[in-house]
């Protein structure tokens, strides 16, 4: 990057010095120059650049009026034309972390390099780690100067056009991107060395980190089954025959809802299976195998359940990254909640 760096910083109401929780509803404000952690960043920049402006937004405002907030932030960038956007650190503050992630993702989309920092378990990490460079922090702001300094190091690399190295050496949270590269030792030797270190009780670093599944507390049925509305979901790739919605057979970006009121059963004349992960013919002949509408209707007519929900939900559950699945699941849950559904039966192939 030629010439001094133009930086626009983003902080919440607390780090912006406006106030604590009682000010969490303030809308986007743009202040000239560095405020709060941005001052530390300015010190590190020295003559190499200027924090032109600090954008401050309340945690609640940002998360409740996300589109408006992002549009105001973007407007501020159009005026300041930053070479770099810095947000946070948010530490373990969830709403702040989500705001920082959203701001950096928006900057990246506009081609502006961006950096933020937060605790690895901040929901902002779960949502944005694949799009955004995030420096891991502790839960509390005690190490603020160190974190800002780490953000600065990565920012320098991002703006210099130098190639960014892997997460483990550069010090950001892995984005789940694999790149082909050469290591000094062949794989078999690294594996055996790792095993030997493990047996000796010495530290070692896996090259294939295991992401432990998140434990979700089990919800319980809030209504008697005979009064309950039960929804049916299938990840078996159930589609209306001929695929009028042009659904994909794997790695779906969205799910589809179809009305089934008045429908007693799914027949192979009207429905079929389209899923890249199993042999589809049996389910295409009798789609109730992957979405048991006929069975649930039978139980509805006997009064075992209150009613079958008006909409079924389907998608092909194959080759879908966990992050995407999570997003899709959250959307489904919202739709089901709005439809007054009490419980679901989900068939997975």
């Amino acid at each position: 990057m030629a010439g001094p760096l133009k930086v626009v910083y983003f902080v919440n109401q607390f780090f912006g010095g406006v106030g604590a929780e009682e000010k969490a509803n303030i809308p986007v404000e743009v202040k000239k120059g560095p405020i709060g952690p941005a001052r530390l960043f300015q010190q590190l920049l020295g003559d190499g650049g200027t924090v032109e402006a600090t954008i401050i937004c309340g945690d609640n405002y940002f998360n409740e009026q996300r589109e408006q907030a992002l549009s105001d932030v973007t407007k501020a960038w159009q005026e300041a034309k930053p070479d770099l956007v810095v947000a946070g650190p948010a530490f373990d503050a969830g709403r702040y972390g989500l705001a920082c992630g959203a701001v950096c993702a928006a900057a990246e989309e506009l081609g502006i390099p961006a950096i933020t920092a937060m605790h690895p378990e901040n929901p902002g990490v779960l949502t944005y780690r694949r799009q955004v460079f995030i420096v891991p922090t502790g839960a509390s702001p005690v190490d603020l100067p160190d974190v800002v300094s780490q953000m600065f190091q990565i920012a320098l690399k991002l703006t210099s056009g130098e190639e960014m190295g892997p997460a483990e050496t550069e010090g950001y949270l892995g984005r789940g991107i694999r790149k082909v590269s050469e290591r000094s030792e062949p794989g078999y030797k690294r594996a055996v060395d790792m095993l030997a270190s493990k047996l000796r009780g010495e530290p070692y670093h896996t090259e294939v980190p295991f992401e432990a599944p998140e434990a979700v507390p089990a919800a319980s049925l809030q209504r008697d089954l005979s009064q309950a509305t039960i929804a049916l979901i299938s990840t078996g790739g159930l589609i209306p025959i001929g695929n009028p919605d042009r659904q994909v057979s794997g790695n779906a970006d969205r799910y589809f809802s179809y009305p089934v009121d008045g429908l007693e059963s799914l027949t192979g004349d009207d429905w079929e299976a389209f899923h890249g992960g199993y042999y589809n013919q049996i389910a295409s002949d009798n789609p109730n195998y992957i979405l048991p509408l006929s069975h649930l209707r039978h139980l509805e007519s006997q009064g075992v359940i209150g009613r079958v929900a008006s909409q079924i939900i389907t998608l092909p559950g194959v080759s879908t990254p966990v992050a995407k699945s999570k997003h899709l699941g959250a959307e489904m849950a919202r739709e089901l909640k709005d439809a007054g559904v009490d419980a679901c039966i989900l068939v997975a192939t």
Binding site: P213, E214, A215, V216, P217, A218, A219, S220, L221, Q222, L225, A228, I230, G236, G277, Y278, Y279, N280, I282, A283, D285, N286, N288, Y289, I290, P292, S294, H295, L296, H298, L299, V304, I305, A333, L336, K337, V341, D342, A343, C344, I345, L346, V347, A348, T349
Partner: protein, 83 residues
Amino acid sequence: MGIPVAMISAIYNLALTTGANRVIRGARIEHVCGDPDLGPEKDFAYGLQIVRTALQALETDVSGPTLFDPDESAPAREAVHAS
């Protein structure tokens, strides 16, 4: 308040290890809720048994991943072939 989910899967072990709370053992990957080899009547009865088990699971409070097996009197099921 969350919405309880009963997940029917032939690869029930995978569902349990990835954290699904109410898992119902399905028949086969290709025909999770029944078995065409049984003929229409028994096939439907088998599917019904699986769905009833799912409903029982929804009525049962669980504290973590739990397997619900449709009645042992159900037709024998072969091991599944993951594809």
